[in-house]
Structure formats: C-alpha cells, structure tokens
Amino acid sequence: MNAPVYLDNNATTRVDPAVLAEMLPFFTELFGNPSSMHHYAAGVAEAVQLARRQVQSLLGAKHDSEIIFTSCGTEANNTALYSALAANPGRREIITSVVEHPAILAVCEHLEKNEGVTVHRIPVDAKGRLEIGAYQAALSDKVAIVSFMSANNETGTLFPVEELAVMAKEVGALFHTDAVQAVGKLPMNLADSAIDMLSLSGHKLHAPKGVGALYLKRGTRFRPLLRGGHQERGRRAGTENVTGIVGLGKAAELAQAAMEHENTVVRTLRDRLQTGILQSISHCFVTGDIEHRLPNTVNIAFEYIEGEAILLLLSRAGIAASSGSACTSGSLEPSHVMRAMNIPYTAAHGSTRFSLSRDTTDADVDRVLAVMPEIIARLRQLSPYWGKDGPKATPDFAPAYA
C-alpha cells in the first residue's frame, strides 16, 4: 500500500521532530520543578519563560505575562467563561454563536441550566457567516462576555473577531475568542486588538497533546479556574507541564516561521484538492464561507451518501479525513454546524472535511483525487436516492418514519 495520507489536521497534527527534540531534555536531565530554589530548577524556569515569549510573539501580544499556560484549549475556554462571570457579578449574560465547538457550547449550556446565566446563541447564514444584526441586538450592559470562534473547525469559516470585539467593548463586555484552529495559520497582532482573551491548543500546531494557553490582556479582570498554587502568577495553579510548554513554545516559533508557507503553498494545495473534487464529481458542494476561510481546510458535502461510509472507504485507501455525519459521532443528528447552515440532511450526512498542514504534499492531493470519484460513485450506486446516473428525478423513496 502507498504511504498513508493524513488530511485530518484540524483534529490533531503530527508533533514536529524539532519540537520533540526541544522537549526531550526536560524529561531527562532537566526534570526540576521550575519553582524550586536549588540548581535543578535552573534552566527549567528559563525554558518556560522562553516558551512564553515564543507564544507571545506568535500572537503579537504586548507582554509575555499575558500568556497563561493551560492543559488544553478546552481548559482555556472554560477558564475564560467562568472567569468573566465570576469577575463581573453584575453581568449574567453570555453571547456566543450556534456553531462554536462543544468546549464553548456545552459550558454555556451548563451555566444556563445550573447557574441561571442567560445565553444568546447568534445564528449563522447558509455560508456560516454570523448574523451581525442578531449580535448587535443581543449586546447590552448585562453581557459579561462575548465568545466567538476565530475559525470554525469543520468548515474553516472565519468570523471577523476584531470587529466583533470592538462591538463588545461598546457595552463594556469582555471579548473572548476560541482561536484553537486559527493560531499558527493566521497572523495575529493582539497588542493592537480589542480582544481580551484568546484560547489556543498545542496539538493543532504540531506541538503535543496536553498543553494549551489562554491569552489574557493585561488589565482584564480575572478569576482563576484552578486554585492551589502560585504558578502562572496565581492564575492557573498546578505544577507546570514543562515538557508540553517547551514543545508549545517551539511549535509557536516554527508556526510563525511557516506562516507564509501556510498561506501560499498549503492554500494552493487545498485549492487544487477542492477544484479537483468539484470538477470530477457531480452533486457535491463546498460548505462554509469560501472567501473567508482557513487556508488549510475544505469541507465538501457529497449528496445522497453518508459520511462514515466515505471515511471507511477513504481509510481503506490509506487516506485519513473527517465527517460531519451523525454516525461518526455516535449521535443521531448530523453536525450542529451543518444544521446551523441549513445544509439539507441528504448532504449534511455526506459532508467530508479535508484539513491539510505543512506536512501535506502534492502527491497527497493526487492520491485523494485519484480515489475520490470511484468511492463516491460506488456509494451512490448503493443509495436509494440515486438513480442510474444521477439523483432520481422523481423521488419515489419515502421511508416510513422520519
């Protein structure tokens, strides 16, 4: 079989060998606790500090103390929401969107149910673009925090977070963005931004799993999620995950260096994949906002077939991708992002995401383009919605329960 093709980089990425090399000494000789007084701590605290500056540089933040290391993006998201409510007791409302990651949506649902917090979930249009009017209407001086994702994990659609943050400031609300998919793929300059908080995750940018960070603009009222130690200036207790932090720092440095590559070479590969599929396969379309999208992501809905079946056949051909179908998640409904965009069920179940990285090659794209038409044709032959050479003109298939 050919070498495997990994096009699921929005799920997780391969640790860059240079990142691993940077981490290894901190498992062996440099194992000291950075808080210790003795010489074992020497070099460890400095390494954490260097990583903080590397992340600061990638984000374009003004101060390195604005970076709080966490265990993952989810922890950063939880911290942001809980902190905003705890630090602003007079404000009991949250604004977010319907297409956020569960690391935001599930927290909001919990706060709504158990803490009596009011949550405004702003809808999106058919291309996944935020309904600005609805956002404007939800803003008030009761809002503690606004949280919109920078880039959607399923479609890559970008929200104009800079402008959205300015709107939040007008009512005195905090603005947080879940930028887990965007950091390392889009240049950032948080020093000149109205964004108060930003979440990122190491394993989405070739660092290992188990490390993330929360950017917290200096002067922002804050309450920690974890108490119990002075680490991260008392804002996130717990002995530092030194190896992970060192890896994240190195990965941030490499991502900054590869930023142009990501937005030229990777983007071109993605575009070639997209065009190739659209040209060789009928009845499929790209979901999301094509003009405002991550350079590495394309999500294509193949009509009349189901995503898990596509993934199984792709996997047999050595290709890894992802799907928004119900079956891949074990739930009964297709992805909430596809439903929010009003993608018809027959297409939403067949939505397939290809997410590239600086690891992706021309040959990888060729491999997908070579097998995709046959995979889709094969599943359509099995589909009761499909006739001899196209969708049934007069749909005679109406299953008994719906």
């Binding site: 009349y304 077939i305 189901e306 995503g307 898990e308 079946a309 199984l312 056949l313 996997s315 047999r316 179908s325 119900a326 079956c327 891949t328 074990g330 739930s331 009964l332 409904e333 297709p334 069920y345 027959t346 179940h349 032959q381 099995l382 589909s383 009761p384 919605y385 298939f397 109406a398 299953p399 008994a400 329960y401 719906a402």
Partner: protein, 307 residues
Amino acid sequence: MWDYSDKVKDYFFNPVNAGVLEEANAVGDVGSISCGDALRLMLKVDPETDVILDARFQTFGCGSAIASSSALTEMIKGMTLDQALKVTNQDIAAYLDGLPPEKMHCSVMGAEALHAAIANYRGEEWKDDHEEGELVCKCFGVDAALIERTVRDNGLVTVEQVANYTKAGGGCCSCHEKIEDILIAVNGELAATAKPAIVQQPKPRTLVQIAPLKPEPAPAPAKPAMTMVRKIQLIEKVLEDIRPSLKMDGGNAELIDVDGDTVYLHLTGACMGCSSSGLTIAGIQERLMLAFGKPMRVVPSKPTAEV
C-alpha cells in the same frame, strides 16, 4: 474508529445483493434521513409457496447500515415469509458477529425493512413502533427515549430505580449524570402539569448495587490462590446481586461451570434470545471483573442436564 467485526467490514467493503431488483413484488422503505440511515429492501416472493426467491437492497447510511442490509438479504433468501418474519435484529447483529451498541439501530432498521416489505406484499399497513434517542447507557444499550418513558410511566425518582427498571446505569455508572438530568426533566414536567406525582412505590426488593463497587476484600494472606469454592461463592454473590433486575424481565441466570477465568452461565426465561441478552452477558461480565479485580469471561452455556 468503530470497533467493527471482520464480518461487518467484509459486508461493507464487498456488499452482496446491492442494487435494484426489477422483478420485486415486495418493497419495504424504512429509515430516517435525519438520523442518517435509510433502507429500501426489495424481495421477489414466489406467490405459490411464499418463498423469498431473491432479495436486494439500497441503503443510505454508514458502514454498519450497509453491512446489516447486505447480511439481511443473504439471511432471508430461501425462507418463507413466515420464517423471515421470525428474523430479529439480534439475529442480524449475530450474523455479523456483533455490532457496537451505538450501531444496533442499523440492525433494527434491517428488521423493520423486512417487516415493511412483507406487509407491502400482503397488502397490509405496516406501522413503525420504533423509537430511539441518544444512547445513554453504553453497558446495556439503553437510550434516552426508553428511560424517559419508563420514568414517566412508573414515577421513578432515583437512579437506582432507573437501573432496576431499565438496567441503565447498572454497569460502569458513568451515565449517572445523564440519568439524573432525565429524572429532573421528566419529574419537573410532571410537577408542572400539576398532576399529583404518580409515585408507585416499587415492592421492596434488593436494589442493584450501583454505588462504586469496591473490589472484594483480598483473601487472607494464608490462602494465596482463590479456591474453587471461594470462586463459586463470589460468582453466586454477584449473580444474586443482579438477579432482581434479570427477574424483572422474566429471566434468570444459572452458574454451570467455572474454568480458570471463564464462567459458563445458563440464561433462562426471557433472557434466552432476548433482544439484549448479549448486553446482559457483557453487563454480568463487567460485574464479575469488578468483583474479582481481573479480566473474566462469561460464556453462555446449556443447562447442566444437556452438557
């Protein structure tokens, strides 16, 4: 990635009997596009003998839906309609060497398509009594719809009661938060409709022990290996604990033999061929592993007399 059996993979990658059956005289369409599964089953039935001469399918769905459809067509060819009606979703799953709990609905869809096709052939109206919701208890394969209905109909108020009535939550216990949420939601609804809560006090019975199970106290240091008698006692104790919930479903479990870490059980009554006997075995196995603190295997066996 789902843990599919080799047979499921084979029927998905190389499906047999796929496509339109032009001379079909019985057609069953079932499924729901919103849950991502839909199936058309086409049969050619001999009008003289009622024998299924040929069967084909078309399926919109995941790997296990396509495999279940294909397996079904193989199973029923050559059967009479009356024989085919006896094929259950469990038979389809067993034919495929099992399906993940989240995917059992694929086999349900197959069985329903079969019933719908036969009703179509006989000119009867087929009614779907199918109901499904989010899978809550993965140990026993119980979904939210069933728990809600049971809580409502029986006025249940505790997680223990839910475990007694539905088995949900009686295994690894990790779904207890979801069960509590359902209890709060349904009981809240009942209170809101201002009906006096219909709390039927269940007859006193030994509750399924759902609190986190401690491993059995280690045997006295003088006895390093567990004797056979001790093993049997411990197995009997575990069986005793879960018997009430089996009996509620009209079943029972009898210990036949023990061989090392393998326990041979005879499931009787409603447990025999019950739609969730596979899950019951998995549940018993889980409890035995907790009690013994090591991997144990449960094998269904024939009663002693027949061994």
